[in-house]
Symmetry: C2
Subunit: 314 residues, 2 copies
């Protein structure tokens, strides 16, 4: 399973022009095609931060013309948007190389617990920037939780980021993935961490939240029973003592070693920490190895020459 | 295969509030569950007119804050949005009734011909209303074709509505649909007529167009080799001499009879005509029967007591 980094769709500093994003997904599609040519049977997931942010901003800006959609529906829209860019780019690359595979994007919901403490403590800023007055109005009318953004000024909505528990489509996708007849497809699933839902009665109900895409990737990877999880990001490997004089790359670690690094606070909360946690949990739950690296260094990382590989304990 | 009518998601006169749409999809889910309990192995498709219209309007309204997406990408977003409402509503209904099935929504692209005459003659109005001055600017800057809307005043963009030729994901979906292991899923595909693409080199390229959902439903139904196509709409059956004193429902017709009604101009271009054409083509291409009816009269129609059934020639 490959969890594409945010820069597979939009690189730092770029705005969300569709043509630009498609150029980036074309690059990502080449990496995927290389893996397929190496014999990997892949499942792909991806983030949606800038895209769902843009969709929210469009909803908020056009609020007088169009009733805005809740956040879970915006995540669903972003799965449609990004899924389309990825299937088109991947298929075109496969067809160019005469690889008899095709990308298939399945909408995916991620189940979270209604009791997750994140619902009491929303922390993830999303959507546009508002003045103090607008912020007070939104708090009152929409019951949004707002925080002041000290860097850019103004107020932003914050939403919960609960821990993924399971994938609503997990069983079906597992059957599909392992059925030998379907070896011609590359599944794209759980985009943006999945559409967040909680259990309600016998069924599900959407919730306004965002789910970390790497933590969700682990849940998908474990549910489908894949052997390896590749988490791609914008750095070539995990670093220890990051940002200090002692900074150095971590080439490999066992689950226990990685857990120690996590408990020592080696990794940034919004950046490397969820990737490290996802990697550890994937291997703990039976995965053979997890690799954290960049799109560029992926192949060196698979040979252990770059990136960070997390193995089970000896 | 069931092609849901627009009123399965948004009824006439309603605006696009998410909660309202979910209420409608819950009703549609009951019909689907009834069919499943009758033993049907279903594929479901749906329209996206009001939803893609809202997404376009959001894109146009927020143009200064967010680079707007092309129409094909907006269709992809609408497949995400509507697909989410349908899988959630259908799953909840299945789980309530202890039906061991699950809905799965797959993003689907519809291939059209780059030579389709519709590209020379865009006719389908989409998005917001503009003043004469704005309209001239959009024509110049974006090369949009604009038409004056005499009823509401103002100018609107018109886009091509080419004929669907094939489904890019057709082969994979056919394998999936017929694989006995996967009898637990109800596929939702080709929403809004599918994301419009043309062939380019060995691959595909998105085009700014909209595809009739009923014509696309026929292409999907024929590609998957399903037996029956149910086209749901807001009238209980096809009428002959519609709007005249002689108006009467058509209970059944052979392909040749239906073709004669079509050539006599019995059916409205933007409404019943594509449904009649889709029904005829489906049966001509090997389908057992096509039924055009309303959600409410569906079960009577299956027994021949209501609706309009199109059979092959004797």
């Amino acid at each position: 399973m490959v969890a594409l980094g945010g820069n597979a769709i939009l690189k730092a500093g770029q705005r969300g022009e569709f043509e630009l994003q498609i150029e980036n997904t074309r690059e990502a599609a080449k990496i995927i095609a290389n893996l397929v040519e190496k014999g990997y049977h892949l499942v792909v997931t991806h983030g949606n931060g800038p895209q769902v942010g843009d969709i929210l901003l469009q909803n908020e800006t056009a609020v007088k013309a169009v009733p805005p959609s809740p956040l879970d529906a915006c995540v669903a829209e972003s799965q449609g948007l990004i899924g389309y860019m990825l299937i088109q780019s991947m298929d075109n690359e496969f067809r160019k190389r005469n690889i008899g595979m095709q990308a298939l994007c399945v909408l995916t919901r991620t189940i979270v617990s209604a009791d997750d403490p994140a619902f009491e403590n929303p922390s993830k800023p999303v959507g546009g920037y508002y003045s103090g007055e607008e912020s007070r109005k939104l708090k009152k009318e929409k019951k949004w939780k707002m925080v002041q953004d000290s860097a850019r000024g103004g107020y932003r909505r914050v939403v919960p980021s609960p821990v993924p528990v399971a994938i609503a489509e997990g069983e079906l996708l597992k059957t599909f993935f392992h059925s030998s007849e379907n070896r011609r497809e590359i599944l794209i699933v759980s985009g943006g961490g999945g559409i967040p839902v909680i259990r309600k009665g016998k069924g599900y109900r959407g919730v306004e939240a965002v789910i970390d895409k790497d933590l969700a990737a682990q849940v998908v990877a474990t549910s489908l029973g894949v052997d390896e999880l590749f988490i791609l990001t914008d750095v070539d490997s995990v670093f220890l003592d990051f940002g200090t004089e002692k900074q150095h790359p971590l080439r490999s670690a066992t689950v226990d070693e990685m857990k120690r690094h996590i408990s020592e606070g080696q990794f940034g909360r919004g950046s490397m920490l969820p990737k490290a946690e996802a990697a550890v949990k994937f291997v703990q739950m039976g995965g053979k190895r997890a690799v954290i690296t960049s799109q560029e260094k992926m192949f060196d990382a698979l040979d252990g020459k770059d990136g960070t590989t997390i193995f089970e304990n000896d």
